[in-house]
């Protein structure tokens, strides 16, 4: 632990220039973008949609990422996801029937605040509810997604097919309702809270240390652009995964409890992060780390 403390001090990890004390989401957004523009003056705004690969110092990783993107590994899982999306339910309806515009060009508004249900809704939730409502009995609808990797990956592949229909659309999150702002503030509080044995907050790795390589083989992404590549495929995992699974793994990496897939806490963190990526184009599914 002492070694880590020394390492952190050497890397200049503090609470972060942007103390969590802004007045409202819009001000947060302005300060957030300004922080990264100052930190990486040569990186264009849209580049942040591509994870840490466009950051200075990441050129070696960027070349490999370009090699993978010539024929991305996630194409296999995505093909399976498209099949699930297109296959009719027992009653003859399809996933497209549950969504506005047949599911096309709407993912940029996810996750969203459902004022009627008074909760944040993610694409995974809407997809699963759609299937259940129409009599589907796929395993991933009832499996324990914390333990059943096969089912969770099926859900990730379906969600990837859904996001693919909105590729290139720019993130736009509606926080006009008070409930939405409350959920956003809860997500923000969690994002800035230190946790785990390593005592890191999301902000420490993804703002202070963004662009650095932790431990020699864990390059750290900037928080700006975090969610737009998900569901994504990590090289080591060799499969598409959900953003909640990435959040869980992150928590394990700082030696904290991974938490539960689909938890309200993760929905709120996802809402917070996605709002702060407003204006960036969706790239999901993508190769990420």
């Amino acid at each position: 632990m002492k070694k880590i403390a020394i390492l952190l001090t050497a890397l200049g990890v503090g609470v972060g220039v942007m103390a969590a004390a802004q007045a409202d989401p819009a001000s947060d957004l302005k300060a957030f973008r300004a922080y990264f523009q100052k930190k990486f003056p040569t990186v264009k705004f849209d580049d942040y949609a591509n994870g840490f690969y466009p950051l200075p110092g990441m050129e070696i990783y960027r070349e490999q990422w370009d090699a993978f993107n010539e024929f991305p590994p996630y194409e296999l899982g995505l093909a399976d996801g498209r099949k699930i999306w297109a296959k009719p339910f027992p009653n003859g309806k399809t996933y497209a029937s549950c969504f506005k515009n047949g599911g096309k060009k709407i993912a940029q508004n996810y996750p969203y605040w459902d004022d009627g249900k008074q909760e944040v809704r993610t694409a995974e939730m809407d997809l699963m509810d759609c299937a259940k409502k129409n009599g589907a009995t796929d395993k991933f609808l009832s499996a324990d997604l914390n333990k059943d990797t096969k089912s969770r990956v099926q859900l990730a592949e379906l969600t990837a097919a859904f996001y693919e229909l909105s590729k290139g659309e720019r993130v736009k999150i509606d926080l006009s309702k008070p409930g939405a702002v409350a959920a956003y503030e809860d997500g923000k509080k969690r994002w800035w809270k230190r946790r785990g044995q390593l005592n890191f907050a999301c902000a420490n790795c993804h703002m202070d240390l963004a662009g650095k390589n932790f431990g020699g083989n864990q390059p750290l992404s900037a928080a700006l652009g975090h969610p737009v590549g998900w569901p994504a495929q990590r090289l080591g995992w060799a499969r598409l995964e959900t953003i909640h699974q990435r959040y869980r793994t992150c928590n394990s990496q700082v030696r904290d409890k991974p938490g539960k897939h689909g938890d309200k806490a993760y929905n709120h963190i996802q809402l917070y992060e996605t709002y702060l990526s407003s204006g960036l184009p969706l790239t999901a599914p993508a190769m990420r780390n």
Partner: protein, 156 residues
């Protein structure tokens, strides 16, 4: 009591295996056929042995006409992109060998019309030299790249 029983069983089993093997044609004379997967080469424990098993020789000459594209540091040792092309005449085979892998031969291509080019993703056990051997006009030429594989830091 035990010994006679064991011998009896051993004898029976041995006979059966040989019988099966003979019937299935598993015990057979070596065939010179391109369609065979060169098991001995893939199980060889050194670069030299693998080349001898694959090409009949491990005599290679370094050549600048072989272009290699490989990352100096692999993002993940299980998925390392490598691309090799050779500006040499009459290339009929290219092999990729990772020196520090337990069994260095990773893959090889044999051309009968395709370009002297090969691209794939390989697994590396640790930091190692990777050799690209090209058979051109009956002779072996090579180039190498050193690829670093770091142990996962915070990597999940």
């Amino acid at each position: 009591m035990h010994t006679p029983r064991r011998t009896f069983l051993k004898g029976t089993v041995a006979l059966s295996v040989a019988g099966l093997a003979g019937a299935a044609g598993l015990v057979r004379a070596p065939r010179v056929e391109a369609a065979e997967w060169p098991k001995a080469a893939y199980e060889a424990k050194t670069v030299d042995d693998a080349l001898k098993a694959l090409y009949g020789s491990s005599q290679v000459t370094a050549s600048g006409a072989i272009k290699v594209k490989a990352p100096p540091v692999a993002e993940n040792g299980g998925v390392v992109p490598v691309t090799v092309s050779a500006d040499l005449p009459n290339v009929d085979s290219i092999a990729v060998l990772v020196e520090k892998n337990n069994q260095p031969l990773v893959t090889a291509i044999t051309m009968s019309g395709a370009d002297p080019y090969y691209s794939t993703f390989i697994k590396m056990a640790q930091t190692s030299d990777v050799h690209f051997v090209v058979k051109s006009g009956g002779k072996l030429y090579s180039a190498k790249a050193t690829i670093k594989v770091t142990a996962g830091g915070c990597g999940g």
